[in-house]
Symmetry: C2
DNA sequence: CGGTTCGTTGAAACCAATCAATCCTCGTGG
DNA sequence: CCACGAGGATTGATTGGTTTCAACGAACCG
């Protein structure tokens, strides 16, 4: 989440490329030497391509692997018996997917590609075994993979409890902007990979409310949105909007 | 979360008591032998008493230890710059506290005792070191401590997005009931340790709405509440109320 | 026995959900 | 290349649930 960006998205050779892609969230504080990185590298069997709209794993699937998103964009969802779905998160290049399964050894949610994507599976039991040899890996596994999710969810919870629709939207756009920036993309111009309905589900709002919210933010000259193209005009203004809503650090 | 209850709340001797208390959420699937339990036991330095209203740790505090609630009741909160607080969870006897700090090495929230309580600190770095020797401990550390939180938060999120006030309240009472039952207490008669305002904060509602919601549930003959005394009259009815709200497994 | 904190209840305002109509965009096929 | 269709997005009008403001009652404590 810090200087990891440096070795972020360099185009790379075939195999050892994974050491840079999948480990994006692990590499930074590892202090691994080359041999160790190599061993980590060996865990990644091969990349897997997922077509837009296809499912990487489903609720209830046994845990085979964690996934590092090498390229693309995913949503995670919960499906209720009656078939309705709730979006629980969006994952972009360089983020991890699948930790929801560690607790029960089967996935707690579905992961669906919102555009053509590519992931690097990391066999979990092998990762655990390896981390026994590499204490710093173990520590980072604990730190980065899991607890971070907890903190993230907590701020989301906080948001759901305290923010009105416009504030949630502002926080949503800022969060996307921030994560894109961290990965070397423009924080000011980007494309939404999801529909209004999915944003709404994620934020606990209806799609119409998302539409109206965008309209209001536009009227405040905070951003421009044409269909799925977003242009952030006034990040400071957006931050001001959500300030004092009980949110800390990173909005999400 | 399963048969762990068996060795739940036996009154115990002085030191090795901890093996039963703190490990409540770890013990079950460990497959540890006595020697190993002993080693785990040694991690617990000593119990700490926390008076009602006092703080176990604060947002920003460096991570020293995880805490097993030996006795009592806690809330975890996030405090915003302007001083308002958001309740993110309630922890009762036999539950873990402090995992929020693993990601950043400092606590992401405050933990406040809602009644006179007692916790067993578990030194985290020692726990990590020990888990290197005991693979099954490591696996359970990963599984139970962390990922479970994620699942829990996800259902909470889902709740916040999809349920109305009465459904949230019903889910809240059912969840308390369930957890108490698991710990050997009556699932039908219990005392609320928190104020209406704290319930509201947790559920993303105002305290007045909590009041009115309780009144409505009472009129449906689902439960009785006098001040902080709760009597669940119709758990089936409560479940029915929240059915089809997109919730799965355990309500929370 | 006052004072304070907590809980309940009422009335009005407000915000998001809902229902519904229309528009836009993009991909497909004629 | 254009027409068409379908899904997605916008906008309007209305409804309903929750918040807000406010007053009051109950419990607790010094």
């Amino acid at each position: 989440m810090n200087d990891c960006d440096t070795l972020k998205l360099k185009p790379l050779g075939l195999k050892s490329a994974c050491a840079n892609c999948s480990v994006l969230e692990l590499c930074l504080p590892l202090g691994l030497n080359d041999t160790e990185v190599k061993r980590l590298d060996d865990l990644i069997v091969q990349r897997v391509k997922i077509k837009k709209g296809n499912t990487l794993y489903r609720q209830g699937d046994p845990l085979h692997a964690l996934y590092a998103v090498r390229l693309g964009f995913f949503k995670t969802t919960l499906t209720s018996e009656d078939g309705r779905e709730q979006v629980t998160g969006f994952q972009m290049t360089g983020e991890m997917l699948g930790m929801d399964a560690i607790s029960e050894d089967r996935h707690a949610c579905n992961a669906v590609a919102l555009e053509d994507s590519e992931v690097c599976p990391i066999h979990f039991s092998q990762l655990e075994r390896l981390s026994r040899d590499l204490p710093s890996l173990q520590h980072n596994l604990n730190k980065l993979l899991m607890s971070r999710e907890i903190v993230r969810d907590h701020s989301l919870l906080l948001m759901m409890g305290n923010m009105n629709s416009d504030e949630r939207l502002a926080a949503f756009f800022l969060n996307l902007s921030q994560r894109l920036s961290l990965r070397g993309y423009s924080p000011f111009n980007f494309i939404l990979r999801m529909r209004r309905e999915e944003i709404g589900s994620y934020l606990g709002l209806r799609l119409e409310t998302i539409s109206r919210g965008i309209a209001r933010l536009r009227e405040l000259n905070l951003l421009e949105v044409h269909a799925r193209e977003v242009k952030i005009l006034d990040p400071i203004g957006l931050k001001a909007l959500i300030a004092g809503c009980g949110q800390h650090g990173n909005p999400l």
